[in-house]
Amino acid sequence: MLKLKGVEIRQGAFSLAASFTVERGRRVAVIGPSGAGKSTILGALGGFIPLAKGRVYWDDAEISTLSPGARPVSMLFQDNNLFPHLTVYQNVGLGVRPNLKLTPYEIESAHNAIQRVGLDGMAERRPAELSGGQQSRASLARVLVQKEPIVLLDEPFAALGPALRQEMLDLVRELVDEIEATLLMVTHAPGDVARIADDVIFVEGGQALAPAPAAELLQNPPPALQAYLGS
């Protein structure tokens, strides 16, 4: 399980506190108003934003001292998830080995992942030759080969249309099940939450609240969440 113990993040005047636990294999949506710190939480878990206080544990090992690449985490950002000058295969392969010197078995598994996300026959293309949806699929293929126990999605599908986004969420759901990963994803849309999330972390007022069951929370939102959701 993922455990945040007395975590505090400070960036200038902004500060955010988080202390909670996410059970292994849960799919968690992180929601909240703009600027509340949803991406900040994920950035801190990924190792890109330093903690002012507190620690993060995966199972019983502290991971908050590790560099981003050494953490048991695969992360997709809002943009620039693929190297534009490399092919789909190379982009996926970098998730297996940072020097891209793959064994025959690893080469095969990279190709399998590309096939699995529906990019059959596109392994040699570069990102610019793919549609937005296909680019998302390529980065998900890399998540698949990385096989990390924690998957962090910082709105990587924000630029896609609603139908395509739903398609991607369904794919994410299948993929994290396959690799038995714990998922944390930032989103704006209550529809996304209902579609994929078991739990919801609500970020507001300088605090990330502990995850609560999604269905319950959406039916009976506390006042702050209600204000955020509108209606």
Binding site: G69, F77, F83, G95, L100, Q146
Partner: protein
């Protein structure tokens, strides 16, 4: 903001920087060891210092003053051939100095076209030797550079401002005051400073067009002290002065030198509604015509006389061409080995610092470094045998500041867009270079390599110090032909040299671009 973690560290850059600094400092040490105290500066040395500063000041001011109307005309006129002309403005930067000098002699020399015309009209002729000639050649080289810098400035003025000016029907003087003058105030000091620094350490121009007690630069005085008098003590003293003067100027200039314009991004003239009057059109047309003639006539004369002289070219020229080619190749390799790690180091540091190392190349005179290494190598082995490698290394050092200006922004951009992804994937160290920086910065790397190759192939500097009578580079061989009054053979050699310099630049620059796009 706190320094962000980066997928590359600066260690290799620190090593490269240390090598650069050490190679200059060692040379300096070698000189100081031989310098005898108490020699002092003679009147001729003071004359050289004065001449160096005067010619650099004049060259910088005249180049920039002339570039204002030319850049302004190019910025606001659409005409066929405009793009070609702007591309050609980049050519003098990589043009071998000695080739340009030959072209300038053909146009402005004693029997040149200008003097012929003046003679026919019964007017007194002009002399290209001495201060006139040195400044003329420097303006020839730096007017295009200044024009490109200013053109970049003009293009940084948003089109909306010109639309607003048209809407308010501002007269030309007001357009100048409200839009163009503020931009010029921003760009001009940097352009003047850059050209001043470049002209301070100029050697080949002074060697060919200057000379004599009245027109000797410090750099030329070092050469003469070393080569003719073998007065190491005086060469050392002059080198110290050169280092202080050029280093000081470069240090000041570091803060105001603008970004060097790359080849791209100058293609679209902003649509303009002002300056539509007939007089202004005529004036702009005239300025562009004169500017292009000034730049193109010398080149055209090299092409014509070179083609005619090609059959007269002796075998020694072809041998020298081969030597030049491998010196340039070595120079490019040395440059990349130094510049890439250095640029990586600079790119991950906070803006503005560390780039000073590159300036060593601008401020330390090539002849000083050459002299110092000559002294150091001399006890161990015959320095003439190492003349070519030393030339290649010194050429690389000279190109370093330009290469850094080209590479650092590219690396910064690659790290800003995809550095985070590298970290997330544990693509650190060499793999980050291999998979992110090198492929992303390939166009910049090709540009820097092409620039270095062209500068090196056309360089007439250190090699003149060591001068092996049997194995020499093409520029020196050409200089010897000119000295021996073998004018036609020299013209042929000039054409070969010109084509080689442009060719090596074109191959590196275009090759890298094509590969990057494929």
């Amino acid at each position: 903001m706190a320094q962000r973690a980066q997928p590359i560290n600066g260690r290799a850059g620190v090593v490269a920087g240390t090598i650069v600094v050490a190679s200059v400092c060692l040379a300096f040490l070698g000189i100081v060891l031989r310098a005898e105290p108490g020699a002092g500066l003679g009147p001729a040395d003071w004359q050289a210092i004065r001449f160096t500063v005067v010619q650099a000041t004049l060259s910088a001011l005249i180049s920039v003053a002339l570039s204002v109307p030319l850049a302004r005309a190019l910025a606001r006129r659409q005409m066929p051939g405009r793009q070609v002309l702007i591309t050609l403005l980049g050519a003098p930067f990589i043009l071998p100095v000695i080739v340009a000098v030959l072209g300038l002699l053909a146009v402005f020399g004693r029997n040149g076209w200008v003097n012929d015309t003046l003679g026919t009209l019964g007017l007194p002729g002009i002399s290209i030797y001495g201060l006139h000639g040195v400044v003329l050649a420097h303006v020839f080289f730096n007017l295009p550079l200044a024009t490109r810098l200013l053109l970049q400035g003009w293009q940084s003025i948003p089109a909306e401002r010109f639309r607003l000016a048209a809407q308010l029907d501002l007269p030309p003087s007001m357009v100048f005051r409200t839009l163009e003058w503020p931009m010029l105030q921003r760009i001009l000091p940097g352009a003047v400073a850059l050209i001043f620094v470049i002209c301070l350490t100029s050697f080949a121009v002074a060697l060919t067009l200057g000379g004599g007690p009245k027109a000797t630069t410090i750099e030329l005085a070092i050469y003469q002290a070393f080569r003719f008098d073998f007065d190491l003590s005086r060469a050392a003293l002059l080198s110290v002065i050169q280092l202080i003067l050029a280093g000081g100027a470069a240090l000041i200039a570091l803060w105001i030198i603008p970004q060097l314009p790359l080849t791209g991004g100058m293609d679209r003239p902003v649509q303009r509604w002002d300056a539509r009057g007939g007089g202004q059109r005529l004036l702009d047309g005239l300025v562009i015509l004169l500017g292009s003639a000034f730049l193109l006539l010398p080149l055209a004369s090299v092409a014509v006389s070179g083609t005619l002289g090609l059959p007269q070219v002796p075998a020694s020229v072809w041998a020298a061409a081969g030597v030049s080619l491998w010196v340039a190749g070595l120079s490019v390799l040395v440059l990349l080995a130094l510049a890439l790690p250095l640029a990586g180091w600079i790119a991950i540091r906070a803006r503005g610092s560390a780039e000073a190392i590159g300036l060593i190349g601008l401020s330390a005179s090539p002849l000083m470094i050459g002299t110092g290494w000559f002294i150091l190598i001399n006890p161990v082995m015959d320095p003439v045998r190492l003349s070519l490698p030393v030339t290649a290394v010194v050429n690389a050092l000279m190109a370093l500041p330009f290469a850094l200006r080209i590479l650092v922004p590219g690396i910064r951009e690659a790290l800003a867009s995809h550095g985070r992804l590298c970290l997330a994937l544990n693509v650190n160290g060499w793999p980050a270079w291999r998979w992110l920086i090198l492929p992303r910065c390939l166009p910049q790397i090709g540009f820097a390599a092409g620039l270095t190759g062209a500068l090196s192939i056309g360089d007439l500097g250190v090699i003149a110090l060591f001068a092996d009578p049997d194995r020499t580079t093409l520029p020196l061989q050409m200089y010897r032909l000119m000295g021996a009054y073998q004018t036609e053979a020299a013209a042929g050699a000039a054409l070969i040299l010109l084509l080689m310099a442009l060719g090596i630049f074109w191959i590196c620059d275009k090759g890298a671009r094509r590969y990057a796009e494929a």
